[in-house]
């Protein structure tokens, strides 16, 4: 069995799985469910240690300034304070970190580049002591002009956000305040434009969204006797954290042990480090365990956000509705530090055309360095912003052509075999037209559901409990959208995962243990790993070992990749374990039955059986006195970088597609929106756990709705300061804002992926937003080129 290049999931194996209860394809329940409903599941903020101290971070109150001086003397004198540290106290040569570009100072050095940047850290015996001490640190700033947009970033006399860049993008960007630029040129737009009967242009604005995971950044660092440190942490990728933490602590990676603590949601916001290094530094300095827990205010400063974007699009089409060309320019605001900006640019550019066939394109995407809050990974990054814009363009074109917006999309929909603008062929099912057909054919929710015998039920109306309308001014609108997202890390990244699988007899029963470093952030990877092990090994009892760095990297829980890649690694390791188990069986029992040598053997229901169904032995007897354990890396098909001038290259592993129909009711006088329904159809390849699949689709759908109608971090353009860092003014949808979300799941296997599965987590976040916007446009007749849409935009009172 090759460790590279996915073995194709054959029907036999799937059938085999269905023989063992709790295997793939079943909606088995979460192994951590009971702990989570009883309050006993230990999240990172629940960590506790005797004699532990509390860490506190002092953050900059301005967005861009030179630090003239820092005086920590008063803070150090505070009773109960054990340590105060600034840049000068960092122990190692390495003082920066970063996902791809190490441009982020652990503590500010001479300059702060965004509002809320960490400047100093304190450890004390109580959080209030630490807060009071931090407040006594005197920092003198000399403020600098703020860079907040493309014009100010690329002006001839613009201050460089980062002086002396030496990262590998600096050679190809037009200005040092541009992190990365990716053009994609294919065909001849100028020629193709001549064939267009209609041309539509649009300029779109996408607001800054927050991941707003509910479990705040937190963790516990415990100093160890060997001079190292053990960090209990909520993250999306233990080994990526480790790679960034160890050098700054001046420790070899072996001396930084990391264990995944319970993760209260992630959505991209835990790809970057937050308090990890600070907690370790304080623990090593004080020799005591140190716990840091952000409050919600701090959390808004403590992680990167979704890139806000300006998108300029031009599309042409013939009068019979065929797209002729597309030209676009996508400007993403990366904020003060690079984070995932280069990858966001790669996704935005390579997916900017959407799930459509357009042979002639001229695409450019850039990410800026500014003094706005740093932006990086959030569910669907790059593709989300583009989808909002190209789907608005599709509606504009359809309208101009007098065509039905769904039919227009279907006419231009990509399918298997379509060549992407990057030159990469789409080599697995791409049922774009079918997904649109499915959402369109779902029955529409009844009208005027607020009417009841006792008058209007305001809970079912725009404005909800606020009692703003009893039906006055309310107009229904319907909108459609479809999107395309890449699955897995792209552009030549070595996107591997590792799994360690063990089989043995415990209490007379053959059991399996699966150990990976996969960050379970709520998505249900732990559920699926157990299912895979049951399917492949025929056992019922599977233990999921806690994730830590005692096993190889599992890659990130992001990019819709974990079931594919770590799931693939678990499957691969299980298959190798199975071979060894069968080898033991042949050794022990081979002489008793010729089938041991001749038949295809399977592990099912705790037994070794032939493919004909004949039982050869109990697994418990085979494994008696034996332990089979192995750890293996597993890789999906390699990808290539995009050419820096033409954007050509087989950059992506797999694509994922979802379509939405939104039904909204808008109070057109007050500009308030109630989303009634967000119907979704998505191709998932193979639903390993159908219940979890629905949860991902519905959750992603609602996050897409949030940025359509209410969620936005508002940054003051004059000061680059965040104006709403709280759940009072950064609004997440409540259950009363949430529409019904019927889901139609399509399972068209991708022959390149384990079990034929397709990454699913992100695609529903893409099309949800433009579908809602389209529905609001349909209800109001307004153009609406920005998201989120606010009441003042719908009433002309901006």
């Amino acid at each position: 069995m090759p460790s590279n290049g996915a073995p194709i999931g054959t029907p036999t194996k799937v059938t085999q799985g269905s023989q063992t209860k709790g295997g793939i394809g079943e909606s088995t329940l979460r192994p951590d469910g009971t702990l989570k409903v009883t309050g006993e599941f230990a999240y990172s903020s629940d960590m506790w240690h005797e004699d532990m101290l509390w860490g506190q971070i002092l953050r900059s109150t301005v967005a861009h300034a030179e630090i003239v001086s820092i005086d920590t003397s008063e803070a150090l004198k505070t009773a109960g304070v054990y340590a105060v540290m600034t840049y000068d106290d960092l122990p190692a040569e390495m003082k920066n970190y970063g996902l791809e570009i190490q441009d982020t100072p652990v503590l500010a050095h001479g300059k702060v580049r965004h509002h809320g940047e960490p400047v100093a850290i304190v450890a004390a015996d109580h959080p209030e002591t630490a807060r009071r001490a931090a407040a006594k640190i005197k920092v003198e700033y000399r403020e600098l002009p703020v860079i907040t947009d493309e014009a100010s970033a690329t002006a001839p006399d613009a201050i460089l956000v980062h002086e002396g860049r030496d990262d590998h993008h600096i050679g190809h960007v037009p200005h040092p305040n541009i992190v990365h630029r990716q053009p994609i040129i294919r065909g001849d737009v100028e020629e193709a434009r001549k064939r267009a009967d209609v041309i539509v242009e649009g300029e779109y604005t996408f607001g800054m969204q927050d991941q707003a995971f509910l479990g705040p950044e937190s963790g516990l660092a415990v100093p160890e006797e060997d001079g190292g440190v053990h960090l209990y942490i909520a993250t999306q990728w233990l080994h990526s954290d480790l790679r960034q933490i160890a050098p700054v602590l001046g420790l070899p990676e072996e001396k930084v042990r990391m264990t995944l603590a319970g993760v209260g949601g992630a959505f991209g916001g835990r790809e970057d480090l937050s308090m990890q290094i600070h907690a370790c530094l304080l623990a090593m300095r004080t020799g005591k365990p140190v716990k840091i827990v952000y409050n919600r205010f701090e959390s808004f400063f403590g992680h990167v956000h979704r890139h806000p974007a300006k998108l300029y699009y031009e599309h042409g089409a013939t009068k019979d509705g065929k797209l002729t060309h597309m030209k676009c320019r996508i400007v993403l605001d990366g904020g003060a530090y690079a984070s995932a900006s280069p990858a966001v640019v790669g996704n935005a550019s390579s997916l900017s055309v959407g799930p459509y066939v357009i042979d002639d394109v001229d695409i450019e995407a850039i990410a800026l360095y500014t003094n706005n809050p740093p932006c990086g990974a959030m569910r669907g990054f790059g593709a989300v912003q583009a989808c909002f814009a190209y789907e608005a363009q599709m509606d504009k074109l359809a309208k101009k052509l007098g065509m039905d917006p769904v039919e227009f999309r279907q006419l231009n929909a990509m399918e298997q075999g379509t060549i992407m603008p990057t030159g990469q062929p789409v080599d697995s099912p791409a049922p774009v037209a079918e997904l649109l057909r499915r959402v369109k054919s779902m029955p529409l929710p009844p009208e005027r559901q607020w009417e009841s015998s006792e008058g209007a039920d305001v809970r079912q109306l725009p404005g909800g409990l606020s009692n703003t309308t009893h039906g006055e001014g309310v107009v229904r609108g319907i909108g459609y959208a479809v999107g395309i997202k890449n699955v897995g890390f792209s552009e030549g990244f070595d996107d591997y995962s590792t799994a360690k699988v063990r089989m043995e007899v415990v209490g007379g029963e053959a059991v399996a243990t699966v150990h990976t470093a996969m960050a379970e952030v709520g998505q249900g990877g732990v559920t699926v790993h157990a299912q895979i092990a049951r399917t492949e090994l025929g056992v019922s009892q599977v233990t999921i070992h806690p994730a830590d760095t005692q096993v190889g990297s599992a890659g990130s829980t992001s990019a819709s990749r974990q079931t594919y890649v770590t799931g693939g690694a678990v499957k691969n390791a299980c298959e190798l374990v199975r071979e060894q188990v069968l080898e033991i069986g042949r050794r022990k029992f081979g002489t008793y039955h010729p089938a041991w040598a001749t038949a295809e053997l399977l592990l099912e229901g705790g037994k070794v059986v032939t493919d004909g169904g004949e039982v050869l032995a109990d697994l418990a007897d085979v494994l008696e006195g034996e332990v089979v354990e192995l750890e293996r890396e597993w890789r999906h098909r390699p990808t290539e970088a995009f050419d820096l001038r033409t954007g050509q290259g087989n950059g992506h592993v797999q694509y994922s597609f979802a379509a939405h129909r939104a039904v909204v009711e808008v109070d057109t006088e007050l500009g308030l929106v109630k989303v009634i329904e967000l119907a979704c159809a998505q191709d998932v390849g193979k639903a390993l756990n159908p219940l979890s699949v629905l949860g991902q689709i519905q959750g992603g759908t609602l996050q897409g709705m949030g940025i359509a109608v209410m969620e936005e971090i508002i940054v003051d353009p004059k000061t680059a300061k965040v104006r709403n860092p709280s759940f009072t003014d950064y609004l997440l949808p409540t259950i009363l804002d949430t529409p019904i979300i019927p889901v139609d799941v399509l399972e068209l296997a991708d022959e390149h992926a384990p079990y034929g599965l397709r990454g699913i987590g992100e695609a529903p976040t893409l099309s949800s937003t433009p579908a809602v916007l389209a529905a609001i446009r349909n209800a109001t007749g307004l153009e609406l080129n920005r998201t989120p849409v606010r009441p003042e935009h719908l009433t002309g009172k901006a």
Binding site: F297, R459, G463, L465, N467, L731, D737, P791
Partner: protein
């Protein structure tokens, strides 16, 4: 920080007299947020939870004497008939959990222009009962209570004990605009009460001026228009032009700002829409009851 736990109203007044900077805490829904986020470090916290009569109410001939700490949930459940506007406003307060803890006393003490109860109190008509150990009890008319952004007419040694709210003698309505359908702070809010006994209307506007305000010009206009047309007697439908002018005057009573929750221009507009709608709802309700009582008579 000291935590003062008076067991009685008298003890609370004495504590407040001794420590005028003490911050009263009842539902905690404002004070604890400020403490949790390090926005405030009062020298003394004065806990009012142990004073039972603050959570009681008495319904009198003309008014309801509402204890300062009666939770919003209680108002919604028990005082919908007597205080319909305030009950509607209470239903828009934050979340069920907050409504279980917060009361009108906290809204008045904080005196935020965005406090949900204010427009309903202004529209119904109310007096705030405050007391100090030194000078005893005084009643502050609600129209004189709000003195500036998050400032009120309370003296440093005074505590809010209750609010005397005029019992509804006609239909009342309350609307609030927020950008979420629950658990949202008002972008702006509007309360309207018809007072058939005095043949007047009263209004209250929230979050659209430095303090909660009444739209007095709009009230006067509408009072005159209703009187002139004999509307109170004939129960005719209010003409669209009258409703529109009333709405415009309510908008004109606003003095809003642009902030993260909304623009000034939108707030003026929305107050006008809410004024027109709530007038329609209350008037329809008045006509319904008037027709009914005529029938009985």
């Amino acid at each position: 920080m000291d935590f003062l736990r008076p067991a009685s109203w008298e003890e609370a007044l004495a504590a407040k007299a001794e420590h005028p900077t003490a911050v009263p805490i009842a539902g905690g829904t404002d004070v604890m947020v400020e403490i949790n986020f390090d926005h405030r470090r009062p020298e003394y916290l004065l806990d009012l939870n142990r004073i039972g009569d603050l959570t009681e109410w008495e319904t009198g001939e003309d008014t309801v004497r509402l204890g300062a700490s009666v939770p919003y949930t209680g108002i919604m459940e028990h005082l919908r008939a007597e205080l319909p506007g305030l009950a509607l406003a209470s239903h828009t307060v934050a979340s069920p959990q907050i409504r279980n803890r917060g009361g009108v006393g906290g809204n008045l003490g904080t005196a935020s222009p965005a406090g949900d109860a204010h427009p309903a109190l202004l529209a119904a008509g109310a007096d705030v009962e405050v007391e100090s150990a030194a000078r005893g009890t005084r009643l502050i008319p609600i129209d004189e209570f709000y003195t500036g952004v998050k400032r009120n007419a309370l003296q440093p040694d005074e505590l809010i004990r209750a609010v005397h709210i005029k019992k509804a003698d006609g239909p009342q309505q309350y609307s609030k605009v927020g950008t979420r359908n629950a658990m949202v702070i008002a972008v702006c809010a509007f309360g309207l009460a018809l007072h058939p006994e005095t043949r007047t209307v009263r209004t209250g506007i929230g979050s659209a001026a430095p303090t909660p305000v009444r739209a007095k010009a709009a009230e006067e206009f509408l009072n005159a228009a209703l009187e002139e047309g004999g509307f109170w007697d004939n129960g005719k439908i209010i003409t669209p032009s009258v409703a529109k002018q009333f709405a415009d005057l309510c908008s004109a009573a606003c003095n809003p700002i642009d902030d993260v929750r909304g623009t000034a221009s939108y707030r003026r507009h929305a107050v006008g829409v809410m004024a027109r709608r709530t007038l329609t709802w209350t008037w329809e309700s008045y006509r319904g009851t008037a027709a009914h009582s005529e029938g009985v008579a």
